[in-house]
């Protein structure tokens, strides 16, 4: 298997923060808040990359808005 013919190869991004929602409406709702100010890139209608340096603020804002987000990659839940 070779990918040499592709215009560009793979891109591997490490240590970023992601928000994934159950549906697009929920994501729109989430991005209407603080998380929207830190939106780096939209990957799909339900997945976005957010500013990893603002991870704590985003989490705090989500909780304040009444969400109980599922957390992955936290040292201690």
């Amino acid at each position: 298997m070779t990918e040499a013919s592709q215009p560009w190869g793979a891109r591997l991004y490490r240590n970023l923060s992601l928000i994934e929602c159950a549906d697009a409406a929920t994501l729109s709702e989430v991005l209407a808040g603080v998380a929207g100010q830190h939106l780096v890139r939209r990957l799909s209608p339900t997945v976005v990359v957010v500013d990893h340096s603002q991870h704590e603020q985003i989490l705090k804002a989500l909780r304040k808005a009444g969400y109980t987000p599922r957390l992955t990659g936290e040292d201690r839940a």
Partner: protein, 916 residues
Amino acid sequence: MSEQAGERSQQTVAQERLRGALEQYPAVEIGTLLETLSPGATANRRKTERIDLLIRLLSDLAAARLALGTLSPFARRLLRVAHRRGRLSLAALLLAGQDQHHSEETVRDELQDLVRRGVVIVEGNGTSGTKVPLDLSHPTAFLLYLWVPQAIGEALIGTDDDLAPLTPIAQPPAEVVAGAFALLRRDLYLALRFLKQTGLRLTKVGEPHRADIRKLLSAMQGGGSAPPARRSDGAALVEGRLEFLLELLAATDMTVADEQHLWAAADVDRFLNSPEPELARRIFDAWLDLRWSEFRRLNDLAIESWTYSGAGDLPDQARLGVARRAIIECLTAAPSGWIAITDLSERLRQTAPEFLIDRVPIYPPSYYNYYQHYGHDNYYSSRQALEQIYYRGFARADLRSRERRLRKDQDWADVEGAFIAQVIAEPLSWLGLVDLGYQSVKHRADGTPPQAMRLTELGQYLLGKNLCPAAAVTAGGSLIVQPNFEVLVLDALAHLDLVAQLDSFAESQSLDRAAIYHLTRASVVRGLGAGWDLTQIIEVLTAHSREPLPQNVQQTLTDWTREYERVHLYRDAEILEAPDAATLDRWLSDPALGLLLPRRLTPTVALVRRETANEVASILARFGVATKVTNYALDQPQVLVMPSPAQIQIAPEYDDPYLRFRIERFADRQADSEDEGVAYTVSPASLQRAKAAGQSIDDILAFLGYKTQMGLAPDTVLTLRGWSGFFQPFQYAHACVVELPPTANWGDIVRVKALRPLILRILSTNLALVAEADWPKLAAALQHRGIILHEGLQIQPTMDKRSAAQQMAADLGLPTGRDLLAGAVGRQLRSGQREQLRSLQGSQLVDFISNALETEQPLVIKYQKPNERRATLRTVEPHELEVRGGLYYLHGFCRARQGERVFRLSNILGVALAAE
């Protein structure tokens, strides 16, 4: 055959021991003893022959049995006590022998008689060259050791003595505190739960942090009630018990400590859920050698430092283990029922007087040599010997001066007796081995030691007096879930496994015989975060429940779980982006790579399993795919170019969405091409937009300073600050500059009241500003005073001003430092290099200087030490860059100072390459 050989060898050792002791006897005493045991045997025998004969007589078992037959039961008791520990001091035997029928004198006479009969051997304290006095009435004789020959010891087996068995007290105590192992189990569980969730901070010496101890106490009391006040007796008791619990957990390997914290071990649930007898046995065995001192908890004793020879009488950990076992042995021999604690204390005194503290301290032989030098009858030696009758290292807490000292021959009840009561009242009661009996409720409340004790069923089992206690059986389910989300665990201490499961997803309200929990959204989310799912939670609640799970509880749990799954926030996620969906399809179907990509997030993006990014990259490399790795944990510097304050360019190789996101917060994208990268424009409007979004100009400048390849030029900084509205308006007005000749100064003029208001600002001794409107008035006033006015300035550059010494040097044709500096700087100024001085910091400055070192180019630096008022310009030929104590230093030849100099990089305010 080997058994016989062993027996013979044992006999030889015993005979040698006898010989060693008898050789220390005075010759007269040897004769007397031999004559007592075998009348007429002394005739025509020298001392050595007499000793040989005595050894034969004292080693004869038949003769020993005959001799024992002639002794009283009391004498046999003394012999048994002496034989028990192999060797005992006279002081200990005098203490053990005393009872209501035998005074100290009676015991001493009895022992003296035993010594005369040869059934007790006297031994000195190891001092060589001195004979052992056999007179036990001598004031210092209590320091001598007594022991029983082997044959006598063997003959003692099966004989009776006058020690009556312990008897239960006739009247049961009025107030009883039942020993409850369940209580201990609950507290161990609560402590472990705290350690599992929070951990306990440790100080530098490894002790638990006091603030955390208070938190742990609060957690163990259900969180509702506060622990007792710090200095109260209650606090001492509660904290003492907590310390005991923590030591027990450490001794049973249920805690692990790193450098800063104490945590619960991994398999604590298995430990706590083991059957009660098994758990109790493990804890009891741990207590026997526990690193914890009941002795230090005796309130009536004050521990004092002991600086003299020896370690003092404070029992160490090994001795405490011996003492605990002696008490347990005594309890094992006691009958069932209530036993007076004073009776237990007396029994230990009579059978094992040194179970806790030796009566005669072990000193090096040199100590005894010292006092024996003066002879036993000398005042000082007698006094020194008598000092040995006091306990060393502690005293009565409530008295002062000499009265506080405790005597080993008189204060058994206050020391050893109190220790026995302490062991029974605290650890044995806490472990659930004994019930405690008090004279009254008041006595108990006052903290008076208990009057009596009784072994519990568990205690009898652990001491081997009873079979395993029957386990309690709970009928039906042990859980009740109520519609108000309250969860009740019946007989919780018997279901700690269930309690531990509930801890994961419910809020604990209380834990006693029954445990109360509350299901809340936060607690369920916590459980889901810890790996539980809805099915598991409902299964736990229904499997142990007596009734079906209330409908509203089940529905709410489902809603909470659905809500939890709605938004998923990933921290430190790793994703792989493929150029197109078909490529990602192929990668996901690859057996090796597919395993490392657990989920596909979009058609072209997949989530990478944590910490496998390098593995993914290496697999892709094997496929021939060039992988660009962007690690957001590393903020890469010098990736931008700023040709002017208004332009930012990202080179294609550095282009990445996060970098774009950061720039677009204060700049507008202009162009985006694969060959030339992305270009942005910074404008007053874009900077105002950033400001409105909460981004300060300092943040933007710090970002650009770090990210631009050559750092920010001063003009760029000034421009961006200006565009952002950083500066307040600059004020200006038309004014005249007036220069005075060297013969005048502005002080002469402002002293004239009429002229003072006409001067706007004095700039230096010879320069001042005068408002344009005021100048005609000032000019007229000056001319009126005969001062001639010329238009034009003759301001001389400061560099040209010379002191007398510099002038002299110049006259002699020698260069001064200022000349050299002026020359160097002058060149810089002439070539316009001063304009290019850049204020670089940190890694940018290091990189700049490193480049200069590599290309061997001299540098011009603006340098100012913290203690200097002005910066100086230096031209430096760099030789070396050194890192010392976390700081960078530049070594080089300074042309201004004409010598080797060292410059700290943090003092360099500006830097540029010097023109040669």
